[in-house]
C-alpha cells in the first residue's frame, strides 16, 4: 500500500488510511443499498434490503451452514487435487524440456475452451454426487496453476543454475533450492486466484445437478422466486470464498516473506 497515514504514525495506527477509506466505501454501499430498497419500497425480487437478507440468513442458518459445508468440502478437495496436478505438471514439464513443445500448446488450447462447458459432460460421467464437483474444480484449478507455476519456474536465471551445477548440485537440488523458491511468488498468485474460482466452479456445477450444496439452494430459490433466499445463499458463498482467499493470502505472507 503506497498511501500510508503519516498522521497516525505516532503510535501504532489502528488502520492505514486506505483501509479506513475501504471501510468507508463498504459502509456507504450498504447504506445506499438499504436506503434504495427501503426508500423506494423495491419489491424483494428486484432488490431486498440488506437487513432483510441478514435476518433471512440468521433464520435459515442451519440450512445455509449445511449447504455451505458441502460446497466448501467440494471446493477444498478439488482445489487440493487441482493444485497438486497443476504444480506437479509444471515441475515435470520444466524438468523434461522435450515434452514441453507438445504439452504447452495443448494446455493453452485446452484452456481456451470455457471450463464451464465441461460440466454437463462431467455430470453425465460422474453423476450428481460430490465426485463430479471434485473433478470440475480440479479441472478448472489445475490449468490456472500449471500455467502460473510454469511461468514461475521459467523465471530462474540460467547463470544461477549453471553456478549450482558447477558446485555439483543434482537436478533435484536445483529444483528444490532454486527453481521452486523462485517460482513461489507466481505459484501463490495462482493459488490466490484459484481460491475464489474453486468455490465458484463448485457452486455453478451444483446448480446444474447436485444433491446438496449452495448452488442447489440458489437454484431452488430461483425456481421458487424466493429472492431473499438467493441473496442469502450468495452472501454465504461470498463469505466462504473471501475466507478461503484470506487464509491462502496469510499463508502466502508467511512463506513468501521476502516479497
Amino acid at each position: 500500500m503506497s498511501t500510508h497515514a503519516p498522521s497516525a504514525a505516532r503510535s501504532a495506527p489502528f488502520m492505514s488510511l486506505s483501509a479506513q477509506r475501504g471501510v468507508l466505501g463498504a459502509v456507504l454501499l450498504i447504506a445506499l443499498w438499504e436506503g434504495l430498497a427501503r426508500g423506494l419500497k423495491l419489491p424483494t425480487y428486484t432488490l431486498p434490503a440488506v437487513s432483510q437478507i441478514f435476518i433471512s440468513i440468521w433464520d435459515q442458518r442451519n440450512v445455509l451452514v449445511g449447504a455451505a459445508g458441502v460446497t466448501v468440502a467440494e471446493a477444498l478437495v478439488g482445489y487440493a487435487l487441482g493444485a497438486l496436478i497443476g504444480i506437479g505438471g509444471a515441475v515435470w514439464v520444466s524438468m523434461q524440456p522435450r515434452v514441453r513443445g507438445f504439452v504447452l500448446p495443448s494446455a493453452t488450447a485446452f484452456n481456451s475452451v470455457p471450463v464451464i462447458a465441461w460440466s454437463p459432460l462431467v455430470l453425465l460421467w460422474f453423476g450428481t454426487g460430490m465426485a463430479s464437483k471434485f473433478v470440475m474444480v480440479a479441472l478448472a484449478i489445475s490449468f490456472t496453476l500449471f500455467l502460473s507455476a510454469l511461468s514461475g519456474l521459467d523465471r530462474v536465471d540460467r547463470r544461477s543454475v549453471d553456478l549450482m551445477r558447477s558446485f555439483g548440485a543434482g537436478r533435484l537440488a536445483v529444483l528444490w533450492r532454486l527453481r521452486l523458491p523462485t517460482a513461489l511468488p507466481l505459484i501463490f498468485a495462482g493459488l490466490r486466484v484459484a481460491t475464489a474460482r474453486s468455490v465458484l466452479i463448485a457452486v455453478v456445477t451444483e446448480m446444474l445437478g447436485a444433491n446438496a450444496g449452495l448452488g442447489l439452494l440458489i437454484y431452488q430459490a430461483v425456481v421458487q422466486v424466493d429472492f431473499v433466499q438467493v441473496w442469502g445463499a450468495v452472501f454465504v458463498a461470498s463469505a466462504a470464498s473471501l475466507t478461503f482467499f484470506g487464509i491462502v493470502s496469510a499463508i502466502e505472507r508467511k512463506i513468501v516473506f521476502w516479497k
Binding site: P114, L200, G215, V234, L242
Partner: protein
C-alpha cells in the same frame, strides 16, 4: 497491493513471439502446417482410441459421429455459435472499455480506488451463477442480460491489470516528460498507457475466455438459442454425441476469440511483453 487477486504476469505462453524475429511467410506457413498436423493427429487418435479400446459412446463417442451430428443439423449449431458469439463479444468489449477507463480513474484518484476497489474484489467472489439469476430477473431472458453477465466477469481483471500496468511506469521517464512540459493527457497517451498495454493484454486474453463462460452460464437460465442451451439440452437427454458436438463448438469459439485477441496483441504490443 499484496492482497489483490492479481492476474499476475502472463501465465499463458505466447508461442508466436519466438518466431517473430524470423517472421517470414515461410515460417508462418510451417507454423500453420504444424497446427493442422496436430489437429489431424488429435482427430485420428480420438477416432482410433474409441475403436481400439471400444470405449462406450456414453463416455466418448467417435469423432466422426460427432461431426456427422453437427453436419446433420448445422442450423442449430451455427445459430447457437453466432448467438453466443454476439453475447460474449458485446460483454467483452464493454467490459474491456469499462475496465481500462475505471483503471485510469482509480490511478488518478486514489481516494476512489481505496473506497471502491475492495467492493469490486468482494463482488468478484459472488458466484456468477447467482449474479446471473438476478440479471436475468432484472433484464429478462434477453441478449442484453447475457452480455451484462459477460461484462461482469470481464471488467475486473482488466481493471486490476490496467492499474498495475499504470503503476509500473518508471518515475524518471515521467519526470523527464514533465520537464519538457507534457500535459497530463500527453503523459497518459504517450507514456503511461503504452507502458500498461502489455499488462492490459494479459487481462484481455483472460477476459476473452471469461466472457464466453459468462455468456454460456447466462444461457442456462432458460434461453432458446446458444451453445449453452445446446449443452444443457444434450445433458438432459443424456445425448453424449450432442454434448461433444456442443463442446467442439465451444472449443472453436473459445480458440477463435483467444486467437484474435492474441493477434491484436502482437500487432499493438509489437515490442513484446516485458515480464
Amino acid at each position: 497491493m499484496s492482497a489483490l487477486p492479481v492476474v499476475s504476469a502472463s501465465p499463458v505462453a505466447r508461442p508466436a513471439t519466438a518466431t517473430r524475429a524470423s517472421g517470414s511467410a515461410a515460417a508462418g506457413w510451417s507454423k500453420a502446417l504444424r497446427v493442422v498436423f496436430a489437429l489431424v493427429a488429435v482427430a485420428v487418435a480420438w477416432e482410433a482410441a474409441v475403436v481400439v479400446f471400444s470405449i462406450k459412446p456414453h463416455y466418448l463417442p467417435r469423432l466422426s459421429l460427432v461431426l456427422q451430428a453437427i453436419a446433420a443439423t448445422p442450423d442449430a449449431y451455427v445459430s447457437g455459435f453466432l448467438r453466443t458469439l454476439a453475447e460474449s463479444l458485446i460483454g467483452f468489449a464493454s467490459g474491456a472499455l469499462f475496465g481500462v477507463g475505471i483503471g485510469i480513474v482509480f490511478f488518478r484518484v486514489p481516494v476512489l480506488r481505496d473506497m471502491i476497489f475492495p467492493i469490486f474484489i468482494v463482488s468478484q467472489t459472488i458466484p456468477v451463477i447467482a449474479f446471473g439469476a438476478l440479471v436475468v430477473l432484472w433484464f429478462g431472458n434477453t441478449l442484453l442480460a447475457k452480455a451484462i453477465i459477460a461484462f461482469y466477469v470481464t471488467f475486473f481483471p482488466v481493471t486490476v491489470n490496467t492499474l498495475l500496468g499504470l503503476r509500473s511506469v518508471d518515475p524518471r521517464q515521467e519526470a523527464l516528460m514533465k520537464s519538457f512540459g507534457a500535459t497530463r493527457g500527453q503523459l497518459m497517451r504517450q507514456l503511461q498507457l503504452p507502458t500498461a498495454l502489455p499488462q492490459i493484454f494479459v487481462a484481455l486474453r483472460l477476459g476473452a475466455s471469461l466472457s464466453l463462460v459468462g455468456a454460456i452460464v447466462g444461457e442456462w437460465f432458460g434461453d432458446t438459442t446458444g451453445l449453452g442451451v445446446l449443452l444443457l439440452q444434450a445433458m438432459f437427454n443424456e445425448n453424449a454425441v450432442g454434448l461433444w458436438a456442443a463442446l467442439l463448438m465451444c472449443a472453436l469459439l473459445g480458440t477463435l476469440f483467444y486467437g484474435v485477441v492474441a493477434w491484436v496483441e502482437r500487432r499493438l504490443v509489437f515490442w513484446g511483453a516485458e515480464q
